[in-house]
Symmetry: C2
């Protein structure tokens, strides 16, 4: 758990906030993040959704992808993600898959809402409050074929 007055956490949060402010001037969204590994390596990211035509280019996702690319791994176990704003479900899920140990944020989802973003509505989808997209099962000829191929593949890398 993060201590709210932890000076190390505050320093990294201030870095994430500074990245977010700079990013607005560069045509990006008002979000920044830094991944800090167990060894103290630091990887920053900023929101490039509209700048790069990539709806998944949230600051946290960009920082995670950069850290993984530079470290040559898909596993950031031991890392902490510091975000200028409370991570949306995309960024929480990216952190889970990246095996980040913990997330610490500065502004919260309600601050993001007031700035015009859909964070709370999307959190509510996952909270079961109000579904925001229909997700339904359909019929495929052999839906388990990929998993059968996976089980039989000698070179598979588990993740």
């Amino acid at each position: 758990m993060s201590d709210p007055v932890d000076p190390v956490a505050s320093a990294y949060l201030n870095s994430a906030v500074a990245l977010a402010v700079e990013n607005v001037a560069r045509g990006g969204g008002p979000f920044g993040a830094v991944v800090v590994t167990a060894e103290g390596r630091i990887y920053g990211g900023t929101n490039r959704v509209t700048a790069d035509n990539d709806p998944t280019a949230h600051a946290e996702v960009v920082a995670i992808r950069r850290a993984c690319a530079e470290l040559g791994t898909f596993d950031l176990t031991g890392s902490t993600l510091y975000a200028s704003c409370e991570p949306c479900p995309l960024c929480v899920a990216a952190s889970l898959w990246a095996r980040v140990d913990a997330i610490v944020f500065a502004a919260d989802r309600h601050d993001a809402d007031r700035a015009g973003f859909d964070d709370t509505r999307f959190h509510e989808h996952f909270d079961g409050v109000a579904p925001a997209i229909p997700i339904t099962a359909g019929s495929a000829d052999d839906p388990l074929a990929p998993f059968a191929a996976w089980a039989e593949h000698p070179g598979r890398i588990d993740y």
Copy 2:
């Protein structure tokens, strides 16, 4: 809502399943997806997490990123996402931010679990059943500075 015996949906799901099977042979994970736009354009994606050292390179995310890159937009309104397996929270959230209209899937989260993936555990994080990562508020000097810069930026593009 998708009709489970909708032949068009089944055809796209079969394509997604075929992509997933092929991807295993190419060193990727056993997942495939296709984005179909309102105009009928089709963009495929496969899981490249371990192949590309990118924990966010799930099939659905790859398909969404490809569709957006090729169409030159961050907004896929009117599109449907067909996935070989029930989308994990990362892929649901990516679909929400991409403004995909609907998601249809073939295999489900329990099939993914049986193949060794953490989908159900990560769904349970969002369902509030069992938190999978600590997410805490920290203290920054000026957490709202990015949103103030955003509000004042004349060239901002809302998304």
